[in-house]
Symmetry: C2
Subunit: 148 residues, 2 copies
């Protein structure tokens, strides 16, 4: 797979991924104009998206009864260069009438120990932890652990 990005002006880049396009920019403090997410912010989307796709697939396979599903990824960066995420905090929000916590826990664990390639790639430098919230109540917590 491939992304090709083209510099347009200041810190603005337009990215092309097959037939898809998106922008990247820096905030004013880094010489940009904040017209689009920063590369590091997009990495958080990439981590959240990778594990969320695993979890939604697994929840469907296990017939978990859920109505809405959200994932947030949040991180602070180190002060010294290279500025990397200290810890990536993931929150899995599952809402529904009666979602099965054990199956949800199993889905998240499978993603964050075996399947999620993006999380695995960053995990040696930036550890990941997670909370599972069922109808906005914290129901479980854990950490990513990959054997790579």
């Amino acid at each position: 797979m491939k992304s090709e990005i083209k510099w347009t002006d200041k810190m603005h880049f337009s990215a092309k991924i097959r037939h898809h396009e998106h922008g990247m920019d820096a905030k004013a403090e880094f010489g940009g104009e904040d017209s689009a997410p920063s590369p590091k912010e997009l990495l958080l989307s990439s981590i959240a998206g990778c594990t969320a796709m695993d979890v939604v697939s697994l929840m469907k396979k296990m017939r978990v009864d859920f109505k809405t599903f959200r994932v947030s990824a949040e991180a602070d960066t180190t002060e010294s260069h290279p500025r990397v995420f200290k810890v990536v905090h993931l929150k899995f929000y599952v809402d529904g009438e009666n979602p099965d916590l054990e199956k949800i826990k199993k889905s998240v664990e499978m993603s964050l120990t075996k399947y999620c390639g993006v999380s695995a790639m960053v995990s040696k430098v930036s550890p990941l932890d997670y909370e599972i919230l069922i109808n906005n109540q914290v129901a479980a917590t854990g950490k990513a652990k990959f054997e790579i």
Copy 2:
């Protein structure tokens, strides 16, 4: 920093990063509809964008004479889970009347040994190599090396 993604349907997620929004989707073979880049493709944009912003800043500081600047990031993934990038291949394309190769090499080296946090985060699992192309001719090659 934070990204929050919301499941909309099948494998489609809408991401919100502050006031910015973007989509993610999977290809049909993974149960999606390919309406947006995949999380792993976005990681390639993130890597390319992170190093490209360093390099464009450094080239400007060193007064490199360039007209256009593009960066591509390309990778194959492993067959076994977690599917990670085997190697990330970066190509830096600098076009101009008479761009100074030594200064461009210095800029790329500084990014990929010291500054680029996104590359640093993946580098322990997925090594990165690069080519620098001046007016479409390969002028230098190298590898990322971070001390973290």
